[in-house]
């Protein structure tokens, strides 16, 4: 079919829990995109993930209101906070440490995030996650 792209949007949508509340409702609704069909498809595609994990999702929609979606892995900060069992990162990470994670956990997070990271190998991906941990005041030990 003659797909002509009308726009894209990137929304943070909780895995398995998409519903018509913000941001999904207003973002899709203002463009006339079928909210319930989006929620049904998104929730099916994320059914095996941690319920509620925030998934950056790029939605491309076409002139006849059909759409496609590219669901990214949750941000590194989500995995790091979960691994360190903290609710938020440090306000001043250069002076404050809010928690710690193990090198094995850094590798696990790097493996989970690998497909969305700009890294050639798992070592490079781990370096990116280490940087995120430092910027949140989470130490590795």
């Amino acid at each position: 079919m003659a797909k002509k792209l009308a726009g894209t949007m990137k929304l943070q949508v909780p895995a398995g829990q998409a519903n018509p509340s913000p941001p999904v409702g207003p973002a899709l609704g203002q463009r006339g995109i079928n909210i319930m069909e989006f929620c049904k498809a998104f929730n099916a595609k994320t059914a095996d993930m941690d319920p509620g994990a925030p998934c950056p999702t790029v939605i491309s929609y076409y002139q006849d209101k059909s759409f496609s979606m590219d669901i990214k892995t949750p941000p590194a900060s989500y995995f790091l906070k979960k691994a360190a069992k903290v609710k938020s990162g440090a306000n001043n990470p250069s002076r404050e440490t809010v928690g710690s994670v193990s090198p094995a956990q850094i590798r696990e997070i790097a493996e989970a995030k690998m497909k969305d990271l700009n890294a050639n190998d798992i070592e490079g991906a781990m370096q990116i996650i280490l940087g995120s941990a430092r910027s949140m005041g989470i130490e590795v030990k």
């Binding site: 079919m1 009308a6 726009g7 990137k10 941001p23 207003p26 069909e37 006849d64």
Partner: protein
């Protein structure tokens, strides 16, 4: 939950995408960022953010200045039933005898019409576009002229709405194909939802690269785009039976003459042409000799 929006416009897609990416780094961060082409040929793009707390207006002003965008307009969205809003926008599409509707309008199907259930979802071809509408109207017009077809192919089928429309009015098997595996899945689900299993066979194929598409066909739909339509002109023409029809769409009106010329060169005549909005649907007939 309250929602704030921050909207602006900027010239050109690169600046719009740069602004959209920069908005994601605001604090408080947006829960959504959208980049949309303004459909008035102005070259303007709309960039918008959704926030669950009032956004940083000073930060937005800096970002707007960075890419030469207009100042952001920040407002709190009123509480809205967005599902109901969308359902009003996704109204049924009527094209002659065909009535294309979403499940939310199942109670509105008129008697005596050829009804097709298509959800506006993960494949193109909902009927809410001049290209699909043009193809359905062209099919309806051929039926009015007494045309019958025993072998039909729908190339680049998307939802398979066109193939299913043909299967509703003619008894033979219709072959629908798409290069996109996701569209193939959606098309198969639509075929099942419309009780047309065994009447429409959906295959994954690039062009005619599938044994089921060898032809000849009495009618070929190809609602794709100018480039692939021109590339497929020899194959579509070769697979039409003498006197057979091709319904082509996905062509901008200014591209129609160029596309048509390729099909005339391949032994077809122009049967009819319909312009809907910016889009043209061509109906071609294969010469008998």
């Amino acid at each position: 939950m309250p929602t704030w929006t921050a909207l602006t416009t900027v010239t050109g897609k690169p600046a719009a995408e740069q602004l959209g990416a920069a908005m994601e780094r605001l604090n408080p961060e947006p829960t959504g960022v959208g980049v949309f082409e303004v459909e008035d040929d102005s070259g303007l793009w709309e960039v918008g953010g959704y926030f669950i707390e009032p956004p940083d207006q000073a930060g937005l002003a800096v970002l707007a200045a960075m890419v030469g965008a207009k100042d952001f307009t920040v407002s709190e969205l009123p509480e809205t039933d967005w599902v109901a809003h969308v359902r009003r926008e996704l109204a049924p599409v009527e094209a002659g005898r065909f009535f294309v509707y979403g499940s939310h309008d199942a109670d509105k199907v008129p008697e005596g019409r050829e009804a097709l259930l298509i959800e506006a979802a993960m494949a193109f071809g909902t009927g809410h576009h001049g290209t699909t509408l043009g193809c359905l109207k062209a099919l309806d017009s051929l039926l009015e002229q007494g045309v019958t077809a025993s072998r039909v192919a729908d190339i680049g089928c998307g939802t398979a709405v066109l193939g299913m429309a043909a299967a509703r009015v003619w008894p033979e098997l219709v072959i629908a194909s798409d290069i996109d595996p996701q569209a193939v899945d959606v098309a198969r689900a639509n075929v099942a939802a419309n009780d047309l299993e065994g009447r429409v066979e959906v295959v994954e194929a690039a062009g005619f690269d599938h044994a089921a598409l060898e032809g000849p066909f009495d009618l070929i739909f190809a609602n794709i785009l100018k480039g692939p339509l021109i590339a497929l002109a020899p194959e579509i023409s070769a697979r039409l039976s003498p006197g057979g029809f091709a319904i082509l769409s996905g062509i901008l009106t200014e591209q129609a003459d160029q596309t048509l010329a390729h099909y005339l060169d391949c032994g077809n005549d122009l049967h009819s042409r319909d312009d809907i909005g910016d889009w043209t649907t061509l109906v071609l007939r294969k010469l008998s000799t």
